[in-house]
């Protein structure tokens, strides 16, 4: 499994898909959280008065069938999106949310092939777990040791890489201007609903919260693993070797090729059938930015801003607000 990667990848997906298609960022986050939301609590379980309530075989329950492994399949994302779309089909947000759910859930399922257990990407066509074994799966040893193993292995490198991708290549997605210009107009219903309950600053904080939480998560667990519990680093492929491992999924060339072909076909079909009809006429980042208030004031222009951000976003094309 991946830890902070699931928080950071949402911004990369927003950058890639949210600027080209009408996709809800909140739905990407919900979709990305969905697989573990439905499976993780029972994987780790809880101990009350000495009795452990949870799965006796966490790895199998988490990633296989019978069990909750179907939550990490591509089909599960489609199923969730279809249910949500059907329930909300008369609402304007139905499509942006359905697309976001699929994108987020697929990102989670594909990211998790990095651990040694892998995911049943093509379930129910096959129960095979696809894995590239970058680091060892560790839920069977409990949450804290699992975290320590992950943040001692290439999992740590994975999270830091996602962090650097966001910060170095697309940090503009974390700006207020991007939030107001791209994210909010793509999902006005949800953000308007939230704006009636939270102050404006909290809406921006909510949008940034996954990134900030991801940073906090990496710092906290890495500190725990190496400064407090003194676990050893092991940056070898499939590490850490000190972890009591579950049997890795069997991988062969035919399965690898089948996985690549299958996933590519599914992604291509999704792009053509679901995304293309909802492509923005102009990518959200292609038009020069609106000058800042300071710049406008220095030119003697008005710095008055309307009081309704949603109305503003509708009246003014979102792309005008973006600053790279």
């Amino acid at each position: 499994m991946s830890w902070a990667a699931h928080q950071f990848e949402g911004y990369v997906l927003q950058r890639h898909f949210g600027e080209r298609y009408t996709v809800s960022y909140l739905a990407i986050v919900a979709g990305d959280a969905a697989p573990d939301f439905f499976a993780k609590a029972w994987v780790y379980g809880v101990t009350i008065n000495g009795h452990h309530y949870g799965s006796s075989d966490p790895a199998t329950f988490h990633r296989s069938w019978p069990g909750a492994g179907f939550t990490h399949s591509l089909a599960f994302g489609v199923l969730l999106a279809a249910l949500l779309w059907w329930a909300a089909r008369r609402r304007r947000w139905a499509v942006p949310w359905a697309l976001g759910i699929v994108i987020g859930q697929w990102a989670h399922a594909i990211t998790d092939i990095n651990d040694s257990k892998g995911t049943m990407l093509l379930f129910p066509l096959t129960k095979h777990n696809f894995s590239i074994g970058t680091w060892a799966y560790g839920a069977q040893v409990g949450k804290y040791h699992d975290a320590a193993a992950y943040f001692s292995s290439f999992g740590f490198v994975m999270d830091v890489t996602w962090f650097l991708v966001v910060v170095l290549l697309m940090r503009h997605v974390l700006t207020r201007r991007y939030f107001e210009g791209v994210v909010r107009p793509s999902d006005p219903a949800a953000w308007t609903w939230l704006s009636r309950r939270l102050p404006e600053e909290a809406l921006v904080a909510l949008y940034r919260s996954m990134f900030v939480y991801g940073v906090a998560r990496v710092i906290a667990w890495t500190t725990y693993a190496h400064a407090i519990a003194h676990f050893r680093w092991d940056l070898h492929w499939g590490g850490p070797n000190w972890l009591a491992k579950v049997s890795p999924s069997t991988q062969t060339w035919p399965w690898l090729i089948a996985g690549i072909v299958g996933v590519t076909a599914v992604l291509g079909a999704f792009r053509q059938l679901a995304l293309q009809p909802h492509r923005r006429s102009v990518p959200a980042h292609s038009v020069p930015a609106m000058p800042s208030m300071t710049e406008r004031a220095s030119r003697g222009q008005s710095v008055t801003m309307p009081s309704n951000p949603v109305a503003t976003a509708e009246a003014m094309p979102p792309r005008l607000w973006i600053q790279q």
Binding site: Q7, A33, D36, Y144, A147, H172, L174, T175, R176, R177, L198, P199, E200, E201, A202, L203, V204, A205, L206, R208, S209, M210, V212, Y213, V215, A216, R217, I219, A220, W221, T223, Y224, I228, S292, M293, T294, E295, S302, V303, T304, M305, P306, S307, N308, P309, Q323
Partner: protein, 73 residues
């Protein structure tokens, strides 16, 4: 020329309209407090409470304090 109530609070926007002084305080504060509290009591380090903590520390509390201070003045 007027500036109405939708203009973000002072410090919220820099000249480039991206990260402001207040942001550079409240977001690191959210990270540091979450890490310290989480390490003190690890069950806090979960993916439900984490984002909520960030929203409260970086979003809700500053706005509430800003309103409170403004009212006292």
């Amino acid at each position: 020329m007027g500036v109405d109530r939708a203009v973000p609070a002072e410090g919220a926007l820099t000249a480039s309209g991206q990260w402001g002084r207040r942001d550079l305080i409240v977001y690191p504060l959210a990270v540091v407090t979450y890490v310290l509290l989480g390490l003190a009591w690890k069950p806090l380090l979960n993916w439900v409470l984490g984002p909520i903590w960030v929203v409260v520390v970086a979003g809700v509390l500053p706005s509430s304090l800003h309103r409170l201070v403004g009212r006292e003045r």
